[in-house]
């Protein structure tokens, strides 16, 4: 079987000392920002992107990927010990994890979360390895019309499963597409919307957009509120769960892994959706649903396994189709582009070392996380006691240095601040920035594929509907919108997100 051979190639790449080091750095940084509220993986990847210029592409991607799944481990620590989700994907872990900590079972909750995540990480890595080759083989047969429709479906799917107003989210995508095409048009050489500023003729940098909308805006919004965090468990004792707890948690881990792996592949999926869905499933299946919210271990085991599985399988659409399905994957597109790798189905054949190396590194990274995370919990707890008033200026500093070093110009810093302002405005008006970021990275690709499709059809727009695969993809996108617009599904969708604090 090919799979084994590919994985051997992959481990050959992932286990070189330099890549092991970057996987470790990524995982530790990921856990760190996962533990710290107020900075998420999107802003962190934006911050670190400039420092990866000098690295081998595969080392860079291994480190950045480690940040994403490392954050899933770290996020659960904060959720359990402080009742504050370090990451959105750990929101539901707060419900039962924190209650367990109050009852003195913080150690059991933390170790179940870590072991569940590890198990999920192992399974979903195999999942990624098995699913990616056939999917990219299929996508290689796509022409520009199919690709345009696939991107449309991907973008629509991404917002259908997100929360908030559907219409607003779709409009945010369009705004993102518009921002994405700023800069020199590859076909005509015309610099579009550059306002005569030379820096803008290269386009708007993804680092500026992501850091402004996700990093700065978050800091400003946090400062506007005066919330107090309280640590419940300073000393975590008794890391091992009891046998009874283990027996309850094991099936939840299995279900969470399965659910997370599947939801991770869907557009708009990924860690967050997976954790919400897993919590709902565990509550439904439990014989004692009333225990949920009171410290039920399944309520920790299910979502924590699911968010890690989802984080990993959300790489599948990126690696095989070149389509990011959430904001973190959009950053990975940015990272690949910086290293001159066009994301898409050709990556697996043109860069097999990178492709399989990245996949193998996920397993390596998960192993590191489970080994490191539990012994290091003491350090993470100490970090949590650092007050926010000391933390955010430091985050801001690293952001400023990071964005300055993209091109060594102060223009990028100003641009990022402008997006920060826009980001605060978006928060005030309840406009989700994630769809904008997806549109932003896909803008140029979408225009190019539309252009090619219409060129081949001699200007007939119906080519998008007469080619069967393209038509199928567009119909699927339209159906998604119609289904979500139906009143009773809409209320169900809102219900599913109700556990989330606003």
């Amino acid at each position: 079987m090919d799979l084994i051979g590919h994985l051997v190639t992959g481990f050959g790449v992932a286990l070189t000392p330099i890549n092991l080091l970057y996987a470790l750095v990524g995982c530790l940084l990921g856990t760190l920002i996962g533990v710290l509220p107020g900075i998420g993986p999107v802003a962190t990847i934006a911050m670190l992107l400039p420092t990866t210029y000098a690295l081998q592409p595969v080392s860079a991607l291994i480190m950045l990927a480690g940040i994403y799944y490392g954050a899933q481990y770290g996020g659960s620590t904060t959720a359990i010990l402080v009742n504050m989700p370090g990451e959105t994907s750990s929101v539901v872990t707060c419900l039962d994890g924190y209650k367990m900590a109050l009852k003195g079972q913080a150690g059991a909750a933390l170790s179940i979360a870590a072991l569940g995540s590890f198990f999920a990480g192992c399974v979903s890595t195999v999942f990624v390895a098995a699913f990616s080759p056939p999917l990219s083989a299929l996508a290689l047969k796509f022409g520009p019309a199919e690709y345009f429709s696939l991107m449309t479906l991907g973008l629509i799917g991404a917002v259908v499963l997100a929360h908030g107003s559907l219409l607003k989210a779709i409009t945010m995508i369009i705004l993102g597409l518009l921002l994405g095409i700023v800069g020199t048009d590859v076909n005509s050489g015309v610099a579009r919307f550059d306002f005569g500023i030379p820096e803008l003729s290269d386009g708007i940098g993804i680092v500026s957009v992501a850091m402004g909308l996700f990093g700065f805006a978050e800091i400003v919004t946090n400062l506007e509120s005066t919330e107090v965090r309280e640590l419940v468990a300073r000393k975590v004792k008794g890391l091992l769960p009891t046998w009874a707890q283990f027996k309850l948690a094991a099936p939840a881990v299995l279900r969470g892994t399965g659910l997370g792996s599947i939801l991770g592949i869907l557009p708009g999926g990924g860690a967050m959706l997976a954790s919400f869905a897993a919590y709902a499933v565990e509550k439904k299946l439990s014989k004692h649903p009333e225990e949920f919210g009171q410290g039920a271990i399944q309520g920790v085991a299910g979502p924590e396994s699911a968010n890690n599985a989802g984080a990993q399988t959300s790489f599948i659409p990126l690696l095989t189709l070149g389509i990011p399905e959430n904001a973190v994957m959009a950053m990975m597109v940015g990272a690949m582009t910086i290293h001159n790798i066009q994301p898409g189905p050709q990556v697996i054949t043109s860069n097999p070392q990178l492709f399989w190396g990245l996949i193998a590194s996920m397993w390596v990274g998960n192993a590191m996380l489970v080994v490191l995370n539990l012994p290091l919990i003491g350090i993470w707890i100490r970090l949590l006691t650092v007050p926010y008033r000391l933390l955010y200026p430091a985050i801001l500093l690293f952001c400023a240095i990071g964005v300055y070093t993209v091109n060594n110009t102060s223009f990028d810093v100003m641009q990022t601040a402008a997006f920060g302002f826009l980001g605060v405005l978006f928060v005030k008006l309840e406009m989700e920035p994630a769809p904008l970021l997806l549109g932003f990275v896909l803008g140029p690709m979408m225009e190019e594929n539309l252009r090619r499709a219409l060129l081949l059809s001699r200007g007939d727009p119906f080519v998008l509907l007469t080619r069967p695969i393209s038509a199928g993809l567009l119909i699927a996108a339209a159906l998604l919108i119609v289904i979500i617009a139906l009143p009773n599904i809409r209320s169900k969708r809102e219900e599913a997100f109700q556990e989330e604090p606003t």
Binding site: L167, T171, L178, N187, F193, V220, G420, L450, L455, G459
Partner: protein
């Protein structure tokens, strides 16, 4: 007619304004034909869609109910973003060390728990760290002290 969903109203207007701007400013880019799309073809589609969807969002603000737009506290916005902009402007002439202290002190003042002495100490420590990691460690092309540009 009363605006019952202010957030939708203003976000709709914002979308419309950007869409209108894209159409007006982008009118100088040639459209071309569908078969030979010019640089203005795709932006025009997006501009029209923004106007259209923005309009839909704004008009439903008269039907739907929603919370008012939260008040804007200017201090965090101005100080946080201002400190970053200032850093970008002064890091070349003043060098990493001083710029870091200035950024940290101004940014810290955005918090309601601001303590001046603590902020200065944090600034000095972070300046040492930033110089050590970025200039010495990662070898970024940035001056440490004023006049080294």
């Amino acid at each position: 007619m009363k605006i019952t969903h202010p957030k939708d109203f203003w976000s709709g207007l914002l979308f419309m304004a950007i869409g209108a701007f894209a159409l007006v400013y982008g009118s100088k880019y040639t459209i071309g034909t569908a078969a030979r799309m010019g640089p203005g073809y795709f932006p025009r589609i997006l501009g029209i869609l923004l106007l259209l969807f923005g309009g839909l969002i704004a008009q439903r603000a008269f039907r739907l109910k929603g919370d008012p737009v939260p008040a804007w506290k200017w201090r965090p916005t101005l100080l946080v973003l201002g400190s970053v902009v200032l850093f970008g402007a002064i890091v070349k002439p003043l060098g990493m060390a001083l710029s870091t202290v200035i950024l940290i002190v101004i940014a810290s003042a955005a918090s309601h728990e601001f303590r001046a002495k603590e902020a200065v100490i944090a600034g000095v420590l972070l300046a040492a760290l930033a110089v050590g990691v970025f200039v010495v460690g990662l070898n970024l092309q940035l001056p440490i002290w004023p006049g080294q540009d």
